[in-house]
């Protein structure tokens, strides 16, 4: 890796300002445990409760939004605590600093995942320290297992040791002579045993051991093996409680209508027609929109429809053409930042070969979680309680404290299951809106549920992006290559939404994630990011920068392979030959897909296979997609996916996450797009912003590998390669190169 611009990066600079002044001392001091023991109960670390009736409760510090963390995190604790995973209880943690996520910020360090140099490791370590200072309790960046792996196993092991020592005291024997089994401490010599429940209250008084030995992998009982999901039965019986299912005594129901020209004011509103409807309690003017409070959700929604407000103009261009003209302008002449500037540029190397150029484009996208945004809020004086599914409870606390000028201790967040997150529930807007509406209910709780249209038109979108790619192909293959990618900064937009937070200076590497950080060993490689100044709210959409840049680079690699008459899979193998995990996943999909066997076109016009690779969130993923060109359009027949996650904690869940990432990515690739007209998103529901349906879903085969020396994430890495692999397969089948997402702009899908 050559010169990289390492001045201020967004995560680092923001964190340094807030953190390092406090000094290293703070880092060594643990945050207080927010859990209080009830009578007869022992609390061990912020993660474990054990009651005298032998109920073992795991306090889960991360959101459960389908990515399986409820089960995998509980398995980490159970592994070392030595209890039966199938019988443990779980609860979602309160918002507290003790549950901070350090791995998420480590991913923000400006070093690619394959860079194991001293500088890179030190920077990652520093970002972890910074995360503790910021104490963000957040679920994102595919970081949950990486963050929790040591922390939760140590919590389990520490608690087990405390229980063993309590039993040793009880029996007057040496702790070393005791063993544990499934929630019991056993003295093999005396033939006695005590249950954890019987020991818990006393054991919890002991000091938490600071240094405990963890089981070697060979002794793992739960980790490394597929575990049945602890929440599966609740989710097939309707018992799992999502934010929208919260029910409280005297609860009111409300809905909101905010200016669909996001960020602009409401200039007039006549609430008369709504107030005239039976069952309507109140209409609240929120400045940029209004809420209707009623006795049930339907009445609130119907009454909200009856109001015809006047909306001010949008603070961004009114049409998609206008928006993309701004992106194009930035791409052409905006000031960029270099994230990779190795050796010669294509211009330097122009004389040594043939130049190829391409421009790629990606649209704005909504998250479209199945559960529309909602939260329930209640005020008691200046104390606020918010119930919702969320990815960042401490951010909700901080935002609420700032917005309502109350101490953070006065805000309680009760987290539920999430009906999808994908980055959307990282935001605090739906919680704050509910709290604002609850100001008008005389202390009664109120659930504020958005319509689908409200959800889709008030999203923090995946930013639209344009990228110019250029390469010089000569006798040595790729003589030089460059990418210039322009989009709005997600970090700047997200920071801008947090009260009292300064938008940090410096480049946002998310703009070029997926371009600069790929393990292609090319001596002459340039990546420039160009931030686009637009006021459309943009946010973290599954894989973030890795959701669009891999489409650009992996499509271009395919174009290079075609232009230089190379097999696209063999070319990638050659260019990443020094990276064993990359070679491993590429060889795996080559074998799984029968890459070298010719395809027939029985019953269809033609068939083709495409390949793509992406290293994201520490995981190395290759995919081969096979499509058929049929009379009804392109049919995606098969996806073969190989993912190297370093340490596979739950193979079945990893398979599910890869499938999920693929379906999410292919849904976007096939047809999703948020477009603007009159300053508003034109899409409001699944009739205009659809996703892949069962009948369109290919057969997906996943193989999990463990060649990488580091553990990687799983929630996002399945998405990035799926979009370019599909475009490359369409090229292979039809000869048509589609450089614009969604691909439906140029081809039809069956």
């Amino acid at each position: 890796m050559g010169k990289i611009l390492r001045r201020t990066f967004l995560f680092g600079s923001a964190a340094v300002a807030g953190g390092f002044a406090v000094g290293w001392y703070m880092y060594t001091k643990p945050y207080p445990n927010p859990l209080e023991a009830k009578p007869g109960e022992g609390v061990f670390t912020p993660f474990i409760r054990i009651t005298s009736d032998d109920t073992v409760t795991m306090v889960i510090p991360r959101a459960e939004m389908g990515q399986g963390m409820l089960t995998t995190l509980a398995a980490m604790i159970a592994e070392e605590l030595d209890v039966d995973l199938a019988t443990v209880q779980t609860e979602f943690a309160p918002a507290a600093k003790a549950y901070y996520n350090s791995a998420m910020l480590e991913e923000g360090a400006p070093f690619p995942a394959f860079d194991n140099s001293f500088v890179a490791e030190t920077m990652r370590g520093l970002q972890g320290v910074v995360a503790k200072f910021l104490a963000m309790q957040a679920t994102g960046g595919s970081s949950s297992t990486v963050d929790a792996f040591d922390k939760l196993r140590q919590a389990g092991a520490g608690a087990r040791l405390m229980l063993v020592h309590a039993a040793a005291d009880e029996w007057g024997v040496a702790a070393a002579s005791l063993r544990t089994e499934n929630g019991k401490v056993i003295d093999p010599a005396l033939g006695k045993s005590l249950s954890y429940g019987a020991l818990a209250e006393k054991a919890a008084q002991r000091k938490v051991p600071s240094d405990v030995a963890l089981k070697p992998r060979e002794q793992w009982r739960y980790l490394g093996k597929t575990q049945p999901k602890l929440d599966m039965e609740a989710k097939v019986t309707g018992k799992a409680q999502f934010g929208i299912d919260v029910r409280l005594p005297d609860m009111l129901f409300a809905t909101v209508r905010m200016n669909p020209r996001q960020g602009a004011a409401m200039t007039a509103m006549d609430d008369g027609p709504a107030l005239a409807m039976p069952g309507v309690v109140k209409v609240v003017n929120l400045g940029t929109g209004y809420a209707v409070i009623a006795g049930n959700t339907w009445t609130a929604m119907k009454a909200a429809d009856a109001i015809k407000p006047q909306w001010a103009q949008a603070p961004y261009p009114a049409t998609t053409e206008g928006v993309f003209a701004k992106i194009e302008e930035a791409l052409a002449s905006g000031e960029g930042f270099a994230m990779r500037s190795d050796g010669e540029t294509p211009a330097d190397a122009a004389a040594r070969g043939e130049s190829i150029k391409a421009r790629y484009s990606a649209p704005y996208l909504a998250h479209a979680c199945m559960e529309p945004m909602n939260a329930t809020a209640q005020w008691a004086g200046d104390r606020l309680t918010i119930w919702c599914g969320n990815q960042a409870p401490t951010s909700i606390v901080q935002q609420a404290a700032a917005v309502f000028s109350i101490p953070a201790e006065n805000v309680e967040v009760v987290s539920t299951y999430l009906g999808g997150g994908f980055g959307r529930r990282f935001e605090t807007d739906f919680s704050i809106l509910a709290a604002r509406v609850a100001k008008d209910t005389d202390g009664k709780p109120v659930q504020v549920a958005w319509t689908r249209e409200e959800d889709m038109r008030h999203d923090m979108y995946r930013p639209g992006a344009l990228c110019d790619a250029e390469a010089v192909l000569g006798s040595n293959g790729i003589e030089a290559i460059s990418f210039r990618s322009a989009s709005q900064s997600v970090m700047a937009s997200a920071f801008g939404r947090l009260e009292g937070a300064m938008t940090p200076p410096g480049p946002d590497k998310l703009i070029v994630d997926g371009l600069w950080d790929q393990p292609y060993d090319l001596a002459n490689f340039h990546v420039t990011g160009v931030p686009v100044d637009l006021a459309i709210p943009v946010g973290f959409w599954r894989a973030v920068g890795h959701s669009f840049n891999p489409f650009f680079i992996e499509s271009f690699m395919d174009e290079i392979a075609a232009a230089s008459r190379q097999d696209p899979l063999e070319m990638r193998l050659k260019l990443m030959a020094n990276h064993a995990p990359a070679v491993g996943v590429l060889e795996a999909v080559k074998q799984m897909s029968g890459w070298d066997t010719p395809l027939d076109a029985a019953g269809v016009k033609s068939r083709g296979r495409g390949v793509a690779f992406c290293l994201s969130f520490g995981s190395w993923v290759a995919q081969v997609i096979q499509v058929a060109d049929t009379d009804a359009g392109i049919r995606i027949e098969n996806v073969w996916c190989a993912a190297d996650v370093g340490i596979a904690l739950d193979p079945g869940n990893l398979e599910a996450q890869m499938m999920s990432g693929i379906v999410y990515g292919l849904s976007a690739a096939m047809g999703e797009e948020i477009t603007f007209a009159d300053g508003m998103a034109e899409q409001g529901n699944f009739d205009s912003f659809d996703a892949m349906r069962m009948g369109q879903c290919p057969v997906i085969e996943v193989r999990i590998l463990e060649n990488s020396p580091k553990m990687g994430g799983a929630g996002e890495p399945g998405t990035p390669p799926s979009l370019p692999a599909l475009a490359n397969a369409i090229f292979a089948a039809t000869g048509k190169r589609v450089r614009k997402l969604p691909l439906s702009s140029e081809v039809g899908f069956a």
Binding site: K229, E233, K235, V236, G238, F242, W298, M370, E371, G420
Partner: protein, 153 residues
Amino acid sequence: MDLKVNGKMISLEADPEMPLLWALRDVAGLTGTKFGCGIAQCGACTVLVDGAPVRSCVTPVGSVSGEITTIEGVAAGDGTLSVVQQAWVEAQVAQCGYCQSGQVLAATALLKANPAPTDSDIDEAMSGNLCRCGTYPRIRAAVRAASKKLAGT
């Protein structure tokens, strides 16, 4: 208004125009039926009326005369999961789980009407039920497994 829900008669105070979805969720307190789109595009609100799948978000409660089955009424009274629910657990289908009430009910209706569906029957019957987590491959496997199990009993 009187409705038969999950084998029991219940009396609701609701505007007959209110969609069945909201009558179940906000009036009857049965929150297992989910709101996804409000325009019969996603299937999250699917319930059965006399065994047939219905999009409760666009069905006025006053228009319903048959017996309603919601996700809360799929398992037996003693909590024993139905064959479809068991297949869902065995295939570890659910991720976020929000759409799964509708998926389970759509599959229940399919297998009642067509106990041995082909893959294309499954695709056709289930394509109205959106899943943003991408559980489709496991849903297919679960429906096939449930079909086999029903054939064997």
